[in-house]
């Protein structure tokens, strides 16, 4: 296969995968939603869960985007240093977003700032957004996809606290944001929290946290315990599906952390709605692939 053929093949697979993730939620999210519905006893909340599951079924049956806001594409790439298409990946993902916009179809959401013109393709300056991690001595490539909707991107927030505010300050920062903006952001939410040095590192980690599976835990035992405490506490706020009350407010809380400066405590919060359109696809060097988020996805295999 020529380099061009390989690029076209990977573009086609990625366009199909992006389309598939708008139609079908990842398996971990569906499984958590099932658990939350089973634990709910409020009749109004139950009727909202019923509508959600009817929508999941119908979207899959008709092959249509489950939510009209198909978001802006964000990718996290963990690329092996010897993956043959490393240098072409950005071009491939941009082409895949354009193709998925046309074929799925996705709603055109990308507006160039200052010019205030919708590009019509969901691509443009800095879009799709890509964060890179190069994995030494590997020839494969893992791509995590996320379609960030407007409604759940609105509550995103980051700040640098003074160390004296401590982890209690972090808890207040997160819960304040959720009480004020959570009910509008399509709960039950996935909450991503970043704890680090500055606004940019904390904000980036809060988004990275949303790329982790629902139910996964931070490898640091204390951070993991804090994830469970926040999850339990936010659920006890009783926000419920659509913010109208119910047992669960969140799908989960994921914390990602890094060092802080001795004089700072950076914290960031990113939220995802219940229709959390995340996918992960792992390519081998010859473009064979597998996905652990969407067991049903196939493309020419």
């Amino acid at each position: 296969m020529t380099l061009e053929d390989k690029c076209n093949k990977m573009t086609d697979i990625m366009a199909a995968f992006i389309g598939h993730t708008t139609v079908r939620l990842p398996d971990d999210v569906i499984s958590r939603l099932n658990e939350l519905r089973a634990a709910e006893d409020d009749p109004a909340a139950l009727s909202i869960y019923d509508m959600m599951f009817e929508n999941i079924r119908l979207a899959s049956e008709l092959g249509r985007p489950s939510c009209q806001d198909t978001g802006l594409a964000q990718f996290r790439i963990d690329c092996g240093s010897s993956f043959p298409l490393l240098a072409q990946l950005e071009e491939i993902l941009t082409a895949a977003v354009k193709k998925a916009t046309e074929e799925t179809p996705l709603r055109p959401n990308a507006v160039e700032t200052f010019d205030e013109i919708n590009t019509g393709t969901n691509t443009g300056t800095g879009a799709p957004s890509i964060s890179w991690n190069i994995v030494p001595s590997w020839d494969g490539c893992a791509i995590t996809t996320y379609l960030a909707g407007g409604g759940c991107s609105l509550p995103g927030h980051a700040a640098v606290l003074m160390p004296g505010e401590g982890y209690e300050g972090v808890v207040r920062f997160v819960l304040d944001r959720i009480a004020e903006y959570g009910p509008n952001a399509c709960p039950p939410l996935l909450v991503g929290v970043g704890i680090a040095n500055s606004v940019d590192t904390a904000a980036q980690l809060s988004k990275k946290a949303l790329f982790r599976p629902v139910g996964s835990h931070n490898p640091n035992e204390k951070a993991s315990a804090m994830e469970s405490m926040l999850e339990d506490g936010i659920n006890k706020m009783g926000i419920g599906p659509q913010g109208l009350g119910g047992k669960a407010s969140v799908l989960g809380v994921n914390i990602e952390n890094a060092v802080r400066h001795t004089a700072t405590l950076g914290v960031g919060v990113s939220l995802s709605c219940w229709t959390h359109r995340r996918g992960k696809i792992v390519f081998s060097k010859d473009l064979g692939f597998n996905t652990d988020t969407h067991a049903g996805f196939t493309y020419g295999q």
Binding site: A44, S47, I48, M51, M52, E54, N55, L58, A59, L62, R64, P65, S66, C67, Q68, D69, T70, P105, L106, R107, P108, N109, N118, G120, G150, G151, L154, Y167, E168, V171, R172, L175, D176, I178, A179, E180, G182, P183, N184, A185, C186, K222, A225, M226, M229, L230, G233, I234, K236, M237, G238, I239, P241, Q242, G243, L244, G245, C273, W274, T275
Partner: protein
């Protein structure tokens, strides 16, 4: 006109004073008839730029929504996915929008603020929430796309005139007395938030 069919309250356009005044925050309804989509840019154009809407909203519903629509083979349009968007973004304009257009039923997502509640009380309007993220179920309620205005705003921001059948469940979040369900709920959430901050902080002390 308001009917009860199989236990469901169904209200059809054109909405009357008695249809709307009978609704209370927390009620669940479904609607039949004519709705028009309008979100950020429609509100900016109508209120800030003071341009008259090309569609008459009197007696109809406004839906805060930006659908996915595809050209169909017969040259018309096919509704693919439609659901409500965050209503709070329109808070800045909604009082004036209601006054200007005479719209009396608004469908959206999440809470709206005190100015909209004031407009609902003054002009006899209601705001309802359609559970969001359910855009394929939403599209199944659209019988016909019968108008497209301000197409220059793009697919999501344009005014789409739609005929709907049994769109819902819609939960009344602000009623014509100005009662605001979300404001009440948010007070509860905030009270529990303070308890939980204290609770979590105590637990954290044991591990940090």
């Amino acid at each position: 006109m308001t009917e009860t069919i199989n236990g469901k309250t169904i209200i059809s356009t054109p909405f009357t004073d008695s249809d709307l005044n009978a609704l209370h925050a927390g009620d669940v309804i479904f609607i039949n008839g004519d709705i028009v989509t309008g979100r950020d840019d429609v509100h900016i154009r109508a209120v800030r730029e003071n341009i008259d809407l090309p569609a008459d909203l009197r007696g109809k519903a406004l839906m805060h929504a930006g659908p996915i629509v595809r050209r169909s083979s017969d040259g018309g349009y096919e509704m693919i996915s439609i659901g409500p968007t965050t209503s709070m973004r329109m808070e800045k304009f909604e009082y004036d929008f209601i006054e200007k257009t005479g719209v009396r039923l608004i469908i959206g997502k999440g809470c709206m603020g005190s100015r909209t509640a004031e407009a609902c009380r003054k002009f006899g309007a209601v705001h309802c929430v359609l559970p969001a993220g359910n855009a394929v179920v939403g599209a199944a309620c659209i019988e016909e796309i019968n108008g497209l205005d301000w197409q220059d705003l793009g697919m999501a921001e344009a005014l789409w005139s739609l005929r709907v059948k049994c769109l819902g469940p819609l939960i009344v979040s602000i009623d014509t007395s100005g009662r605001n369900l979300f404001e009440e709920k948010k007070k509860e959430y905030n009270a529990r938030k303070e308890e939980q901050i204290e609770e979590i902080s105590k637990k954290l002390e044991t591990i940090l």
